[in-house]
Subunit: 344 residues, 2 copies
DNA sequence: TTCTGGCACTCGTAGGTTCAGAGTGCCAGG
DNA sequence: CCTGGCACTCTGAACCTACGAGTGCCAGAA
């Protein structure tokens, strides 16, 4: 890869950068003459044409037809993102607006809802936000409530404000004292622990109860472990699908597979799941495993209440998107959500 | 209105019906000749043409251009739905499939999710399902959990399986015995009551506690009342947006306002809210108050765990939709969801 | 009175043709 | 190594034409 890039001198890279910028702006293939006019490259169109030929040779740009302008390829965008572009920071007023908008949230649902709408609006693309995941969260409190003689409701509250609840059908009648005892012992051991670690701390619990109560205890614990492990319950919120209409000219074809993909939570979860734990992840066109999204790009990043990322959020747009601006918006929003979560 | 209809004899109505059916099938303006061929009306094209002229005069159909076929107007669809069409019952295998699909649900979220997906798939349109609303539900249980000396978590469980939770910041330290007492008294009075009626049963509660505990009691009750009254918390689930691509030929124009409308929960809630309490509601084109949905039709119906409707569900599609089939699917799905809710 | 066959007419669409302009590749000279 | 010039290519817009589906109307039949 270093070899390939060495073959491209600075001017060629500048040409590629200019092509990407222009194409993102105009959505039309960009020719040598227009390039020289808009960016002061200090060389003639003919020179630029030579550079373009080289860039095409290397697979960074591509011509829809002979004698039309050039369009960046996925590989071209990749190079642009990796080497030629800088994340564009949000302006102070924008940052203030983000902060202000997110501050109004009243609970976790609201926070996520606001985040996803904000992100869609800022980027004018489709925004996706994953709820703070259970596996990265810690236990704030576990509650057991007797609803009927043999029915117990189990409520799990995490440090991110998420609440999961399960019904437990017990094998026999459950005494209130046993329940209180169990509740106290569970919380004493589990509070503050990360969810996946909790079962380890509760192993010896059944042994601490009377023989008669053990079936109940193990049943409750089984349900709890199930809730702790439940990865399927990962939830996602979506906004900005209306922005899909700005996607391309050849309509139903481009947009339909994307809409279908967006309906599949599984796909979205996997998409976000592939985000690197630290730093921003940008996947471009064919780099995306899911076929329906092959003509889109995904910009995603983790966010969390502390330093650690507890969930991911991101944006899905056409490969021809304003990468620096989108990345700036995604990063800024992720930061502020993190702060909000840490405060609450 | 009766007067207008009287002017249309049976054959004219048959012609209108045929036009609607053909247009829904082909999506293309339908002419007199094709009509006579496909439906055996027993008259010649010329006669049909005369009838069509009359129907157009009355505003039931309309010509895109001179010398193209006819297209039903909103008014035409309205007459079709009201007088000319019958709800098409689902076939036995279809009913079995619905039943089977919905039976697999594990909780309320899952039930709603399955319902909306099923509806979208059956009708090949956009489906909308409202969560069982709080105001129509009854209290199953109310739980109070001390999380910290001055922090109490309040959990409200309804008969429809819905769980709402709130944090309460109390003015002073809350004793465990007081909390247990309060919990017991609240449940004794509220269990089984409809949510809006609950405050009435709890009025004299503060007076039953020691002077010192009253601020805590009133604070908790205030939060509870708030949760009970929360109409904003109406939630909605959506599916089948990919079906929008089958809407019309002139693409971004038709689809964009619809996508925008679908993102506005408020719009959707109002849309469903306007559904009649009993029976199916069909709104066609301009009959819909919201501008972005002016070229769509909405078929909606209430569903509930007993005889009573606790929420609404429906389908949004192009005015040119298969009304009998859509209405049949919507009705069937609503019935089965109702049964599922009643069982759980 | 109501339906029918015939006929002239309208008009949108599909297909073909032309033309201008944008863009290219290449080459010879600075 | 860059540049201006030049011949070439090809798309897209504009225009035209012919076709055919569909209509409205009218005179005659039932």
């Amino acid at each position: 890869m270093a070899g390939e890039i060495r073959q491209l001198d600075d001017r060629k890279l500048a040409v590629l950068r200019a092509i990407v910028q222009d194409y993102v702006g105009t959505e039309e293939p960009v020719g040598s003459k227009a390039l020289v006019e808009r960016h002061n490259l200090g060389v003639s169109p003919a020179t630029v044409r030579n550079d373009m030929a080289a860039l095409e040779e290397e697979g960074y740009i591509h011509q829809p037809h002979t004698s039309a302008g050039r369009i960046p390829t996925d590989k071209g965008y990749r190079l642009f993102v990796d080497k030629l572009a800088e994340i564009k920071p949000m302006s102070a007023p924008e940052r203030r607006a983000i902060r202000h908008f997110l501050d109004g949230a009243v609970d976790l649902d609201d926070t996520v809802a606001r985040t996803v709408r904000l992100l869609a609006q800022l980027t004018r693309q489709v925004a996706v936000v994953q709820y703070p995941s259970l596996s990265r969260s810690t236990v704030r409190h576990i509650e057991l409530v007797a609803l009927a003689p043999t029915k117990v409701m189990l409520v799990l509250i995490t440090n991110t404000g998420r609440v999961e609840q399960r019904m437990v059908d017990c094998p026999g009648t459950v005494g209130e004292t046993v329940l209180a005892d169990l509740r106290a012992r569970i919380n004493a051991r589990a509070a503050g622990q990360r969810l996946p670690d909790v079962p380890g701390f509760l192993e010896e619990l059944p042994a601490m109860f009377e023989q008669a109560d053990r079936p109940t205890v193990t049943t409750v614990l089984a349900t709890l472990f199930e809730a702790l492990a439940e990865q399927n319950e990962e939830r996602i919120m979506l906004a900005g699908t209306a922005n899909l209409t700005r996607f391309g000219h050849d309509f139903p074809l481009t947009i339909q597979p994307v809409l279908e993909a967006l309906e599949e939570q599984v796909v979205l979860l996997r998409l976000l799941g592939e985000t690197a734990d630290a730093g921003m992840t940008v996947r471009i066109g064919r780099e995306i495993a899911y076929e329906g999204l092959n003509s889109t790009s995904v910009v995603s990043v983790g966010y969390g209440s502390g330093d650690e990322s507890v969930a991911k959020l991101g944006v899905i747009g056409p490969t021809r998107m304003d990468y620096p601006g989108t990345m700036g918006a995604v990063r800024a929003v992720a930061r502020y959500v993190g702060q909000i979560l840490a405060e609450s």
